[in-house]
């Protein structure tokens, strides 16, 4: 058993087939940043707690720090670099600019990929849903209100009724006691 073996893999990253030879322990995050040259995806905690590394795999948002590159062989990965179409920004990117939804910007690629995943999932119907379903992405600058506004704007959820008709299905798990 060769523990240091290299595994040949092919990933479709941002609509391009890319081939790599990787060791078993290389995470998808490290592959993207260090081998694919795509440093838009950020390493925050490296433990799935901050969401800065969020990318889309086969259209679903995941923490790229908690999956191995070899496990994603044959899959399709979309990073922040793949969101815009040429010079035309993704609606979320445009909304983040318009709503001033970032300060330092470190969490922004993860926030935008996460929001793209949220929209594809189609579960967010209210402002509270958006807040809850963006909870996997931390922003230590505290731009949460603007991030929420940007995401709501793209989905078409009106912001003027915060809390109205909350919890379309089970997101609200009851009154919070603490």
């Amino acid at each position: 058993m060769n523990l240091y073996q290299q595994y040949p893999i092919r990933l479709r990253i941002n609509d391009q087939d890319r081939d790599f030879d990787v060791e078993s322990w290389v995470t998808l995050l490290d592959l993207l940043r260090e081998r694919a040259g795509l440093t838009g995806t950020k390493k925050g905690c490296d433990h799935g707690q901050c969401g800065a590394c969020t990318v889309l795999v086969d259209g679903k948002r995941v923490n790229s720090c908690l999956t191995l590159a070899v496990m994603q062989n044959g899959h399709e990965v979309t990073t922040i670099e793949g969101m815009a179409k040429g010079d035309e920004l993704h609606p979320l990117q445009q909304a983040f600019i318009e709503q001033d939804a970032f300060q330092c910007g470190y969490c922004t690629p993860g926030q935008i990929c996460s929001a793209a995943g949220l929209i594809a999932e189609g579960q967010a119907k209210t402002v509270d849903d958006v807040r809850e379903l963006m909870s996997g992405n931390l922003c230590r600058c505290g731009a949460y209100p603007q991030i929420r506004q940007a995401v709501c704007k793209v989905i078409g959820i009106k912001e003027d009724k915060p809390g109205a008709a909350s919890g379309a299905d089970g997101f609200t798990t009851g009154p919070v006691l603490a």
């Binding site: 058993m1 060769n2 523990l3 240091y4 073996q5 595994y7 060791e23 078993s24 322990w25 995470t27 490296d46 433990h47 799935g48 969401g51 969020t54 679903k60 948002r61 995941v62 923490n63 908690l66 999956t67 191995l68 070899v70 496990m71 996460s114 995943g117 949220l118 999932e121 579960q123 807040r131 809850e132 379903l133 909870s135 996997g136 992405n137 809390g163 909350s166 919890g167 299905d169 089970g170 997101f171 609200t172 798990t173 009851g174 009154p175 919070v176 006691l177 603490a178």
Partner: protein
């Protein structure tokens, strides 16, 4: 992460011999295992990627013999949002959605959820003693950082809690865990799946070496559809482990209790359920008096370890609140407000 050999299993019969190897582990979502490997807490020499078994039907969620069958490789998100789970098992859906983050729920599988390990800070910190990580080294948690830790079923060796929300609902709903190894198949009642720490805190579950979870079954729970609630109390509003959580379900005949289910998370090494307390509720009028009695019974023998003393009161109040919320109805529980 330590170096390890990697392989992918295309069908379950190919996976089982690989998993029988010493220090081999299956990996599916990877959300807990890879994290533990980064910390050096777990150091398998071989990972077997079982995700390709999705194509062998291990990710199927379907109605089954009047109940529900959840594939071990079905993702937590797919399970929580599944039409049948939402409509027939709202307690399970709510519990899953109370856990982790959307990204993690997209990755994490049902089988992996059962096998996740405690988040006790000493277990995670290889620079400290921990009887669960290194048997015989001691338990600093008893007199240390234990805000998150257990108050029921603890032992001298370990006061860790099982971190899952999903498992609390599965315990309340009488799930069965189905496993397979090269020796054959067997079914484990959920109550017997996770263990109390006792003198062997390093062993979390009764899963034997080489056994792989294939699916989880649930009996019909139609009687509880209208009156279910999952209450989770935590240090922040979302994306945090439970200090205390309660899965409560009632079958009501007007104001009278026909049947009750109550399971707690965040308080013990396994989801905590006291069936005598549920039986004592039968025939009683649903309301605070009966719910307080139930809480009393469930928490018999509970003790704090300092930082987590508050959990005794918190658990009592959370049980009453969960039962009160369930009484008012599943729809009320979902809204969380009137």
């Amino acid at each position: 992460m330590n170096p390890f050999a990697f392989s992918q299993a295309r069908d379950i019969d190919a996976a089982l011999p690989l998993l029988a190897a010493d220090n081999a582990r299956p990996v599916a979502g990877g959300t807990n295992l890879l994290d533990l490997m980064k910390e050096g807490v777990m150091t398998p020499s071989q990972l077997v990627d079982i995700n390709p078994l999705e194509h062998a039907g291990l990710d199927v969620i379907e109605e089954h013999e009047g109940g529900l069958r959840l594939g071990a490789l079905a993702r937590n998100a797919a399970t929580a949002y599944h039409d049948t789970v939402r409509s027939r098992y709202p307690l399970l859906s709510a519990a899953i959605l109370a856990g982790a983050s959307p990204q993690l729920r997209n990755m994490a599988t049902n089988g992996g959820n059962l096998l996740q390990r405690t988040r006790c800070v000493y277990f995670y910190d290889v620079g400290t003693p921990c009887n669960k990580r290194e048997p015989g080294t001691g338990c600093p948690a008893k007199n240390g950082i234990n805000r998150q830790l257990g108050i029921l079923g603890t032992s001298e060796q370990c006061i860790a809690t099982h971190p899952s929300d999903m498992c609390v609902a599965l315990r309340a709903l009488d799930a069965t865990v189905h496993v397979k190894s090269s020796r054959g198949e067997r079914a484990i009642p959920f109550a017997e799946f996770h263990r109390l720490p006792g003198d062997t805190p390093q062993i979390d579950t009764n899963l034997q070496p080489g056994e792989l979870i294939t699916h989880i079954t649930l009996p019909d729970a139609g009687r509880f559809i209208e009156h279910s609630a999952y209450i989770k109390v935590r240090d922040r509003l979302s994306y945090a482990f439970a200090l205390v959580s309660v899965a409560a379900a009632l079958d009501l005949d007007g104001g009278t209790i026909r049947a009750a289910r109550i399971a707690l998370g965040g308080v013990a090494h396994k989801p905590w359920r006291v069936e005598e307390a549920e039986a004592a509720l039968v025939g009683k009028t649903a309301g605070e008096a009966a719910f307080e009695q139930a809480a009393e019974r469930i928490l018999q023998g509970a003790r704090g370890y300092g930082q987590n003393d508050f959990k005794l009161t918190l658990a009592r109040n959370a049980i009453v609140q969960a039962l009160t919320t369930a009484m008012r109805g599943t729809e009320f529980a979902k809204r969380g407000t009137e």
